[in-house]
C-alpha cells in the first residue's frame, strides 16, 4: 500500500496531491503538460524534496516532512523507467541492467547473471552487449524496464514510457509493456499524457491538472463521467456544469437544458457530439432542448465532421459530410441545434 501526500512548489508549479495505491494495483497518472506529473514522480523517487506531506510504502516511511524524514533515492525500494529511458550511454545493455544490482552490493558475477536472465525474459538476449544508441526505441524501453525491475523494487514508476517511440512502433510496444507490467506484482504507477496509453495499461486513472487531482477512478468510470474540460476533451464529449432541479439544469453562463436523469444539486452534464442534431430551421416535435447558434469551426475527420457551434449554448456536434452539404453549413452560418433530453447524461459534481 502506497500512501502519498505530496506538496511541492517548484517555479510556477504548485503540486498538492494525495493518492493511495493498493498493493498490486496499476495506476496511470494522466494529465496535460505542466500538470506536475513528472514532479510527482520525482517526489515519489526522492529526487525532489517535499515542502509538506508524507509518503509511506507499507511500513517504510519515504518522506515525512513533519518529522524531517527524507529517505535518499538510492535507499528507496523503487524502480523508475524514465522518459527517454536514460540508459547509460557508456554501458552495454547488460551493464545497464546490472548497474542497480552492483550499486546495491551484488558481486559482478551475480549481477551479470541476474541481468542476463532479465534481458532474456524481456526478449533482449541478442542485445546484451549492445550500446544503448544501437538499440531501437522499443528495445531501449525494454532494457530500461529490465534495469528498473532487476533490483526487484516494490514500487515501479514509469514516466511517459511510450512517448519516445514512433507512432508506428507504439502499438506493439504498448502491448508488450502491458504484458510485462502484468507479470510484476508490486505497485505500478505510469505517468502519461496519452489517454490511450493510460486506459490500455492501468486499472485506475488519476487525472492531474494544474497540480491537483481532479478525478480518479477506473478508465470506464472516468470516461463515462468526465469531471473536467480536459477529460471531456480527451473522451470527446461536451461537458457542462450547472445546478439541477428535477430534470432542469441551469448551466453556468445562463443557458438551461432539460435532462431525463433525476439528479439534483451541483451537477456535470455531458452530451456526445453525435447526439447533437443540426437543422436549417427551428425543428418541430419532441426535442426539448432547442436553441440557435452559428457554426464557428468545421473539422473534417474522415467520414465525420465536427462542427463547433457558438451562441448562447456553445457545443460541438458531429455530423456526416452529406449533412454539412444538406444544411449548407458554412463557418459563421446560422444553424438550429437540438438535443434529446435522454441523450444528456447528468451526474453529481
Amino acid at each position: 500500500m502506497l500512501r502519498a501526500q505530496i506538496a511541492v512548489r517548484l517555479g510556477t508549479l504548485d503540486l498538492d496531491v494525495a493518492i493511495d495505491v493498493a498493493a498490486g494495483e496499476i495506476v496511470a497518472v494522466l494529465g496535460p503538460n505542466g500538470a506536475g506529473k513528472t514532479t510527482f514522480l520525482r517526489a515519489l523517487s526522492g529526487l525532489v524534496p517535499l515542502d509538506a506531506g508524507r509518503v509511506t510504502l507499507d511500513e517504510v516511511v519515504f518522506d515525512d516532512v513533519s518529522t524531517g524524514i527524507h529517505l535518499a533515492p538510492e535507499r528507496r525500494p523503487i524502480g523508475v523507467v524514465f522518459q527517454d529511458y536514460l540508459l547509460f550511454p557508456h554501458l552495454s545493455a547488460l551493464e545497464n541492467v546490472a548497474f542497480g544490482l552492483r550499486a546495491r552490493g551484488a558481486s559482478t558475477k551475480n549481477a551479470r547473471a541476474a541481468a542476463e536472465s532479465w534481458l532474456d525474459r524481456l526478449d533482449l538476449g541478442p542485445y546484451k552487449e549492445a550500446r544503448p544508441r544501437a538499440l531501437s526505441g522499443g528495445q531501449a524501453q525494454r532494457v530500461a524496464l529490465a534495469r528498473a525491475l532487476a533490483t526487484e523494487p516494490r514500487l515501479l514508476l514509469l514516466d511517459e514510457p511510450l512517448a519516445a517511440l514512433d507512432a508506428s512502433a507504439r502499438g506493439a510496444v504498448r502491448r508488450d509493456l502491458r504484458r510485462h507490467l502484468a507479470s510484476f506484482d508490486g505497485i505500478r504507477i505510469v505517468i502519461t499524457h496519452d489517454p490511450l496509453e493510460a486506459v490500455a495499461l492501468a486499472d485506475r486513472l488519476v487525472i492531474l491538472e494544474s497540480g491537483r487531482v481532479v478525478q480518479t477512478g477506473s478508465p470506464a468510470e472516468v470516461t463515462r463521467r468526465p469531471r473536467s474540460r480536459y477529460v471531456a476533451d480527451l473522451v470527446g464529449v461536451n461537458l457542462f456544469r450547472g445546478i439541477a432541479t428535477a430534470g432542469h439544469v441551469a448551466l453556468r453562463g445562463g443557458a438551461a437544458i432539460q435532462s431525463a436523469d433525476g439528479v439534483d444539486g451541483e451537477v456535470f452534464a455531458t452530451v456526445h457530439p453525435r447526439a447533437v442534431a443540426l437543422h436549417r430551421a427551428r425543428p418541430e416535435g419532441s426535442p426539448r432542448n432547442v436553441w440557435r447558434g452559428h457554426a464557428s469551426a468545421l473539422d473534417f475527420q474522415g467520414d465525420r465532421v465536427r462542427v463547433g457551434i457558438e451562441g448562447e449554448m456553445p457545443i460541438v456536434a458531429e455530423v456526416t459530410p452529406a449533412a454539412v452539404r444538406e444544411l449548407d453549413l458554412a463557418e459563421g452560418g446560422e444553424v438550429w441545434v437540438s438535443v434529446k433530453a435522454t441523450e444528456i447524461s447528468v451526474y453529481p459534481a
Binding site: 520525482r42 523503487i78 524514465f82 536514460l86 547509460f88
Partner: protein
Amino acid sequence: MSSERPPALLAALAIVGVAFFILPLAGLLARAPWQSALGELTTPEALTALRLSFVISLAATALALLLGVPLAWIYARVPFRGRDLIRALTTLPMILPPVVGGVALLFAFGRRGLFGQALDAIGIRLPFTTFGAILAATFVAMPLLVLTVEAGLRSMDRRYEDAARTLGAGRWIVFRRVTLPLIAPSVFAGAVLCWARALGEFGATITFAGNLPGTTQTLPLAVYIALETRPEVAIMLSVVLLAVSLAILVAMRDRYLRAF
C-alpha cells in the same frame, strides 16, 4: 552539410588571421637545420630537457586532474556564497603573467613564504626542485582543465545521475560510474589542454623553480637558454614541441567531437 560562400570581407580577414599564425611557424621551420636535425636533438642537453619536460608536464596534468575534477564538480554543482569569486581567483593564473605567478608561488611556498616557512622547518624545499617545477606548471595549467570540466558538467544531462540514484547508487558511485564516464570527453579535452599548457610553461617555472638541466630545465627553458648560444638546437627543440602539440591538438579535436 552544405558549404556556404563567406562574405568577401570575412574571408579576407580570416585569411589574415590564419597567416598571422602560420607565418611565424613557417619562419621557424625555414630556419630549422633539417640536415643536422637528428644530431641537434640527440645532444644530451636536448634529450634531458625533452625527458624532463614530459615528466613535468604529465605530472602536472595528473595533479591537475586529481585536484581539478573535484573542483570543477563543486563549481558546477554546489551553489555557495562567494563561488563566483573563488572561481575567478582559481582561474586567475590563466591571465596572470606567468612570471608574476612564479613570484606569487615563491611568496607562498618559498623559504620565506607564508606556507613555505613551515615546509622549510620540516625540511621540505620546493623552489629549485622538480616538484617545484611541477607545481609551477600545475598552477598555470590547471585552470584550463577546471573550466573545461566544469563546462562539461554543466552541459551533461543530470537526469542520468537521477536514474543512477533510483537504481541504488550513492553519490560516490554515481560520480564514479555515471558522471565521470559521461564527462570523459570534457575531462580528456581539459587534460590535453592542461598538458599542452604545462608543456609550454616558462615564466612561472623559471621564477619559482629556477633553471637547472636535469632538474628544472624544461624544454621551453632549454630553448630560451640555447637560443642565444646554439640557435639550431633551440629551433629544433621548438619544432619538436610544436609537432607534438599539434599532433595532440588535432587528435583531441577529433576525439572531443566524437562523444557517445
